[in-house]
Symmetry: C2
Subunit: 147 residues, 2 copies
DNA sequence: CAAGCACTTTACGTTAACGTAAACCTCGTC
DNA sequence: GACGAGGTTTACGTTAACGTAAAGTGCTTG
């Protein structure tokens, strides 16, 4: 894996500043611990649009960020359709008409409300977990104290 | 819908203290805005175990709480399998052996870690939403200022 | 007693989000 | 020039979480 300076072409990719770096599908997959299949699927669903070099997909910084946001959305239980909706409107923003923009604002408010409810859900679930945890420890101590 | 006192049997259910109240499947479904099918499915998956009266399901306070917790878990993106795992261990707690209890504690720690990551995800997603929101408002103002 | 609810079981259908397998390119390397 | 490591497309398979439809049960109400 040692590198001779004459090897050139377009390697040394990971030494480049982030904005110029590119990734193969396998690299991205490793980084985010998903399979290439997943990444291709997201493209098919309109969440990613990498450029090509021949028939190979080339991912740039923008694509990496998109993937990151997508996976974050997934961890929060959003469907790919929901995620796409926001992402696409975001992209359409610069030249969006007023109606589109207002729709986007509505969408954002929706998502925000959703997140707030999740926060509350997390708060409550934490309390319950702490409670169960405490009771489990009690029982366990009981068991170990009286053999 | 007026009620004669002689109607009796076991009606007036909703006037009872919570701990004694019972629910039909339809009532529970209304309360939580899910379909009866969903509730039956959760039972089939081992998340609920209502008693019967003839062949009709009778839900008690305990079942209602379970359903509530289940739905909360769902909103947070947990699978029914994950939820069941915790719920069943919780039930097995009183007479659980040490190994089981320790396993339960592990499970709880896992869930907690999961929640923490979700909290962070929510925090980040909020920031992004706020950002997009701001930019959308800017563009919109631009549009309305220059007709 | 017929009609209408609300419940029941059984069973097949559906959708989202990938997994898996086959068959094919295209490099750099031995 | 064979080959192995990655990439590609195409297509069928799988799982979770219900939806939907059919056919039957049981009460109470006009």
């Amino acid at each position: 894996m040692t590198r001779t300076p004459s090897q050139a072409q377009d390697s040394d990719n990971d030494a480049l500043p982030r904005q110029q770096r590119t990734y193969t599908i396998g690299e991205l997959a490793q980084i985010f611990e998903v399979t290439p299949r997943t990444i291709r699927f997201y493209e098919q669903e309109g969440l990613l649009a990498p450029s090509r070099q021949g028939q190979k997909r080339i991912y740039r910084e923008k694509d990496r960020v998109r993937l990151k946001l997508t996976l974050r959305g997934k961890r929060l239980g959003f469907s790919l359709a929901e995620i796409r909706e926001v992402v696409m409107m975001y992209d359409a923003m610069p030249d969006g008409n007023a109606r589109q923009l207002k729709r986007l604002l509505e969408l954002l408010a929706e998502k925000r409300a959703n997140l707030e409810r999740q926060l509350e859900d997390i708060r409550l679930m934490r309390l319950e977990i702490d409670d169960v945890d405490q009771r489990a420890r009690d029982v366990l101590r009981q068991l170990e104290d009286t053999p």
